[in-house]
């Protein structure tokens, strides 16, 4: 490189007039089968990337991302659930040694220690050895943590009522319900609204009665004999009332 006295520049800029040749490095003397990043290896990376992208797009098409009904802060019966990668933390906070007066242990101390140790790993595991078998303490701690995270996530998944969760978050069709209709009064009298809700929108323990797609006969049968979590014998009225109730519910169509 030309430096010092006699240097030439492009115009009045600080760019040297001497051009550098645009040629790649010579990799022939590098050890083993060392490759150039550009363009040899990048081409392979792109191939991996496109296969990955196709798989990823298939996932997004096959599983539309979920959307529950609009947030309603007044609904106190809603059972919350974080995204799956926070489940282990959420589960940890359910144990008695990490909740109530000890929340600080589950919320701050344990995760803080784990993340702190992860952050400072190079200074805790200082030996020159890199092979996992030569540093049993560090590797053992990591395996234990991994096992704990997998166990807690698993516990959280199996103890969660996924059907109730799906039901409580469903987007419900808004329907104008005639609360003076005879059918509605019969529902009220037979305590149907306790579980199915005042607007028949459903709740944690019962589905919505709007847009069921069932015939009046099927509805009458469910009202009398129950279905799923609903016991039989809740309806205590006459057959005539049952008929009116069934026709009312069958007539509730989502818009």
């Amino acid at each position: 490189m030309h430096r010092g006295k006699g240097m030439k520049f492009v115009g009045d800029s600080r760019v040297p007039a001497m051009r550098k040749p645009n040629i790649p490095k010579d990799y022939s003397e590098y050890p083993g089968k060392t490759e150039a990043f550009w363009p040899n290896f990048l081409l392979k990376e792109w191939m991996v990337g496109s296969v990955f992208l196709i798989g990823f797009l298939c996932l997004t098409v096959a599983h539309p991302s979920p959307l529950e009904r609009i947030a309603d802060p007044t609904d106190t019966s809603y059972i919350p659930l974080p995204d799956w990668y926070f489940l282990f933390l959420y589960q940890l906070l359910k144990y008695s040694f990490a909740s109530g007066p000890y929340t600080v242990i589950g919320a701050i101390v344990i995760p803080g220690l784990a993340f702190g140790a992860l952050l400072l790993a190079p200074f805790l595991d200082r030996g020159p050895e890199r092979r996992p078998s030569k540093r049993p303490v560090a590797v053992g701690m990591m395996l234990l943590t991994l096992a704990a995270i997998i166990f807690l996530t698993w516990e959280s998944v199996v103890t969660h009522d996924w059907e109730a969760a799906a039901e409580q978050g469903k987007i419900r069709a808004e329907v104008e319900i005639d609360k003076n209709a005879e059918g509605y009064k019969i529902l009220e009298a037979n305590t149907c609204l306790t579980c199915h809700g005042e607007n028949l929108q459903g709740g944690p323990a019962a589905p919505s009665l709007v847009g069921t797609g069932l015939s009046p006969e099927e509805i009458a049968n469910i009202a009398k004999n129950g279905q799923g979590g609903m016991p039989g014998g809740i309806f205590k009225g006459t057959d005539e009332e049952l008929q009116k109730l069934a026709e009312f519910v069958a007539g509730l169509k989502a818009e």
Binding site: Y30, P31, F41, G49, L67, F86, M142, I171
Partner: protein, 224 residues
Amino acid sequence: MLNKIYDWVDERLDITPLWRDIADHEVPEHVNPAHHFSAFVYCFGGLTFFVTVIQILSGMFLTMYYVPDIKNAWESVYYLQNEVAFGQIVRGMHHWGASLVIVMMFLHTLRVFFQGAYKKPRELNWIVGVLIFMVMMGLGFTGYLLPWDMKALFATKVGLQIAEATPVIGPAIKTLLAGHHEIVGAQTLTRFFAIHVFFLPGALLGLMAAHFLMIRKQGISGPL
């Protein structure tokens, strides 16, 4: 033609050294899956970056429709999901990409950990990596609220309770994040939007730049 344009720019700005610096670095045999299939574990970091790019691009498109206020947030997401052409795909990419980033980053962290690749002289890069991990978790947490549906609101309430459990500064952190010491509402949504779209991505880009510069400076750790 392209060469002429290149030469024209190069004469004025001397970009060849810059370009050669990006293009010329060797890929050692032990990290190349073309030579040793087990080297696929070295792909996780690159795939994390790839999904991060997808997240940035899909997120940019989402903000074309998303409205961060409690009346319209859910409506705008619903509209995007059900009415806008390819809206479901774009939102799907952002939604599933968020999970995928966590998975890929976790696998990358485990690869580096079990290979002991964080040891001298790479301690600083490990620390930056763990900070990126935390920023990503923050992005996941703040992004979860934005659709403003039931699970978003109640998961955020739990999350804020956890933050509040921090000794001494807990309540202050909660107020800072939620905009109010008690209510999780309009203020919380706009704050989470700002954190998710401006603060954390800014921090993420800076940390990633540091991460990549350090890799280029030090090279990939040798074979075990």
